[in-house]
Symmetry: C2
C-alpha cells in the first residue's frame, strides 16, 4: 500500500497554487484543480480503509471488489469485459488527466518548467512497478511503437532470421515484415497450440526453429488472440543460451500481471498501460535491458539521441501530450494502493471461474489454457454453429456487456474474447454464461 | 467563415446521445457534454457576429481582437508571447478535448466504433486548410516525428548528401545525423544570414552547395531561432530542377501563415499545430506529396503499412490519444471562423510594429528580417550588454509577459524571441518596449 501519492499530490498542489493555478476553473464550472485533488484523495482514502477492513477477504464479489468497481469511470450500466482493447480509467486517473491538461493549457510555459522532474518521478515509479531500473524505461505511444523501435534499432543484415510465433499481433508482425521487405531479413513463424499443452511444448517449438542465422525471437507475452501468457522466462533462457535477443510484446501485461523484468529476462519488452493499468490511450512502456542498449539505435532522433547514456536516448521524441504521463503515474498509484498481487489473483480467479463454467457448455471450445501459468485475464473461445458476432451482439443487447470477436480462420482461432478485470464480478460472469446458454439452446 | 462545424457538432451530439453520452457528467460536476457543446456554439456565434460587424476593421486593438482574445484559455493576467514553444488553446478546443476524453473514458468500445470516420473528417478538413489532398496528410505526434519519418523512410546510400541550413532546429538536424552515423550519408550545412538580405541570397547559398551527390534539401520553413520564413517555393524549384527532394520543417507554420502546399511545392512538410493553431501538444502534421510517396518507406508499421495506397501508410502507428485529433479539428474550425487571411495579416501587423519599435532602441540587433515575405510572427533580437535571461525575467516579473531566450553563441544568434499571435495586442507590445527601454536605460 503506497500512500506517498497523497503527499506528492499535496506538494504538487502547493507548487501550482503559488502561481494561482489552484484557482483556475474548468470550462466555467466549479471543477477546480483543488476539487479534483480532493476527489482523488477521497478515492485513495476509501481504498485504504477497505484494505485494512478486508485484508483477508479475497472472496467472490465481497464488499471489497464491489466498492472498488465504483472508482472506475463507466457509462451508466455498461459492463466492460473488453478492456483488452482499451480499458476504462479509474476516476483519479481521469481527474489527473484533465487537471494536467488544464494546467498545461492555461500556462504552457510554466508547465514545461515543471514537467521534466515530474516525468522522471513517473519513470521511477513505473520502473519500480515492473522491477526494472529507471534507466531501462522508455515512454512510448503504445506497444506497437515499442515493437517497431526494437525492429528498427537492431542492426540486422540480409539473411538474418527473426522467429515470431504464429499468433502474433499485427503490431508485433509488421515491424519485422517491413524490415524483411526493405532490408532482406527473414521472418519465420513458429506454430503455437491453441491452447498449447505445456511450457515445454512452446519452448521446444522455438528450440527446433533456431538456426545459426537466428538473431531474434519476437513473441507475445500476452497473446491477444488466444489469451495465452507465453513463458517468457523460459524462452529468454533459450534465446540467451543461443546468443539470441528476445523481444516481448506484452500489450496486456501491465496492470494484469505482477511483472518482474529481472525474472522474465526479456531484452526488450513493450506494453500498453491503457488496457489493464487504467492509463489513457496514447502512452506506452518500452523496456530496454541495460545490457543491450548499446545494440539498439534510436528510431526517432532529436537532441540527446547520441548523448544520453540510458534508455532516454530512445525517448527523444519531441513535444508530446505530457498529461498522459501524469495520468500514467496516477494509474500506477491506483493499482499500488490496491496491491498488485491482489489484482493478479482477482483477475485469475475471475478467469478461472469463467473457464470452468464455459467448459460445461456443449460444443464450446476454449482457446485459452486453464493452466494459471499459461493464462491470465483474457479468455477466448468459440462455439460450434454460433457466429462470434452473434455472441457479442446478444450480450450487449441483453446485458449491456461489452466483449469482442477475435481470431482468424487460418489457424482456427475465430471466436470471442472476454477480459475479466477487477471491476468485473462473478455475477457478471454468470450473466455471460446465462446468455451463452440461451444462444446454445436456440442454436438451430 | 465556416459554419459547418456547428452542424457537425450537432450531428455528433445526436450520435452520442443515442447512447446516453450526453447525460454523462465530468468528475461529479454539472459539466456535461451537452454543456460543453453549448459553450462552443456560443463562442462561434460570438465570432461570427463580430465578423459581420467588423468586416473592415483590421485596426490595431479594435473591439474585434480584444473580444477574440477572450476565447483563449489563459491563466489570469498572463500575457503569452511565447506560443512559439506551445500555444494556449482556444476554449472550444479545450472543451472538445476533455469532452472527447470523457466519451472515450466511459465507453472506449463505442468510441472506437465511432472514431475512424471522425478522424477522416479532420484529415479532410486539415487537407483543405493547407490546400493538399487528404491522401497526403498524416497525423503524427509533432514536427520532429515528421522529420524523422522523412529521414528514415528515404533510401539514401553511403555518401549521399543532405543539405541543411545552419539554423535548423534539433528536430530537423538529428534525424539526418543519426542516418549519417548509422548509414554513412553526408550532412552538409549551408550558412544562412541573420537575417538574410534577400530570397536570392538564400537560394544562391543552396545552389552553390549542390553537388551531383545531393539527394535532399532539408530546411526550416519557419526558423525557430531567428524567425525567418524561408522561401520554400523558390527552394523547391531549385531542388526539383536538380532532381533533389525538399523536406520542410514548418513547426510554426500551421496557424501562423496561410499555407498552400501546391504553391510551396515541398515534397515533405512537417508541422506542430499546437504552437500557432491552438491544438493540444502531441498531435502533428506530416504532409507527403502524392508523387513522392513511392519513395518513402513507413518508419512505424502495423496493419496497412504495405497495403494502403495513400499517406495513411505512414500512420499505422497503433492506438493513440485520439481526443487530440478531435481537438485539432476544433482548432481548425476556430481559425476558419476567424479567417486565415485575417489571422496572417494580424500576426504580421503585430510583428511589424514590434520590429519597428525595437529598431529604435540603441544597441539592439534584430535577428529577424523586416521583409514580410521572409518573416512572420516570430521576432528574435539581442541587445548589446544585456543578458537575454535578464530580458525574459524582467518582462515576466514586471508585466507577466512570457517570452523566451533563444540562440547559440556559435552563429551569433543568442537573444530572445517573441511570438505575436492574434491574442496579443499593440498595448502588450508597448509594454515589451517599455520594459526593454527600462533595461537599456539601466544597462550599466
Amino acid at each position: 500500500m503506497d500512500l506517498t501519492r497523497q503527499t506528492n499530490s499535496e506538494k504538487e498542489m502547493q507548487g501550482f497554487s503559488r502561481r494561482d493555478f489552484a484557482k483556475l476553473i474548468i470550462g466555467g464550472s466549479a471543477l477546480s484543480i483543488y476539487t479534483l485533488n480532493q476527489l482523488n484523495a477521497a478515492v485513495y482514502q476509501s481504498i485504504t480503509s477497505l484494505n485494512s477492513k478486508y485484508i483477508r477477504d479475497e472472496s467472490p464479489d465481497g464488499v471489497y471488489w464491489e466498492a472498488l468497481s465504483k472508482h472506475f469511470l463507466f457509462q451508466d450500466g455498461l459492463i466492460m469485459m473488453n478492456n483488452g482493447t482499451v480499458g476504462p480509467m479509474p476516476k483519479p486517473v481521469f481527474n489527473t488527466l484533465i487537471k494536467t491538461f488544464k494546467i498545461q493549457a492555461t500556462n504552457p510555459f510554466d508547465f514545461y518548467n515543471y514537467f521534466p522532474q515530474k516525468k522522471e518521478d513517473v519513470r521511477t515509479k513505473l520502473a519500480r512497478f515492473i522491477n526494472a531500473s529507471p534507466e531501462e524505461v522508455v515512454f512510448t505511444r503504445n506497444t506497437t511503437e515499442g515493437m517497431n523501435f526494437a525492429a528498427n534499432g537492431l542492426d540486422l543484415k540480409e539473411g538474418d532470421e527473426v522467429l515470431i510465433s504464429s499468433l502474433e499481433h499485427p503490431g508485433g508482425i509488421h515491424p519485422w515484415k517491413l524490415k524483411e521487405k526493405r532490408f532482406g531479413i527473414v521472418v519465420k513463424e513458429v506454430p503455437l497450440g491453441v491452447p498449447p499443452k505445456s511450457v515445454d511444448e512452446i519452448v521446444d517449438a522455438f528450440k527446433k526453429a533456431i538456426t545459426p542465422k537466428t538473431k531474434v525471437i519476437s513473441i507475445s507475452h500476452t497473446v491477444y488472440i488466444t489469451g495465452l501468457i507465453a513463458p517468457i522466462k523460459e524462452l529468454s533462457k533459450l534465446a540467451h543460451k543461443n546468443g539470441i535477443l528476445l523481444v516481448a510484446d506484452s500489450a496486456h501485461g501491465l496492470g494484469m500481471l505482477k511483472l518482474d523484468m529481472k525474472e522474465l529476462g526479456a531484452d526488450f519488452f513493450a506494453s500498453s498501460p491503457y488496457k489493464w493499468l487504467g492509463a489513457p490511450a496514447g502512452i506506452g512502456l518500452f523496456y530496454v535491458k541495460k545490457e543491450v542498449q548499446e545494440k539498439l539505435w534510436p528510431t526517432i532522433a532529436t537532441t540527446g539521441w547520441d548523448t544520453y547514456k540510458s534508455a532516454e536516448k530512445y525517448e527523444t521524441l519531441g513535444q508530446r501530450a505530457d498529461p498522459l504521463t501524469f495520468a500514467l503515474g496516477e494509474a500506477i498509484d491506483f493499482q499500488n494502493v490496491i496491491g498488485r498481487d491482489r489484482i493478479e489473483r482477482r483477475v485469475k480467479a475471475l478467469a478461472t471461474y469463467l473457464k470452468k463454467e464455459l467448459s460445461k457448455i456443449r460444443g464450446l471450445r476454449l482457446h485459452t489454457s486453464d493452466d494459471l501459468y499459461l493464462s491470465g485475464g483474457l479468455t477466448a473461445f468459440s462455439i460450434k454453429g454460433i457466429e462470434p458476432e452473434k455472441i457479442v451482439n446478444y450480450l450487449r443487447e441483453k446485458y449491456n456487456i461489452v466483449i469482442r470477436t477475435i481470431g482468424r480462420e487460418k489457424d482456427n482461432t475465430e471466436g470471442v474474447r472476454i477480459s475479466t478485470h477487477i471491476f468485473v464480478s462473478f455475477k457478471h460472469i454468470d450473466m455471460v454464461i446465462e446468455g451463452i446458454k440461451h444462444l446454445v439452446k436456440h442454436r438451430d
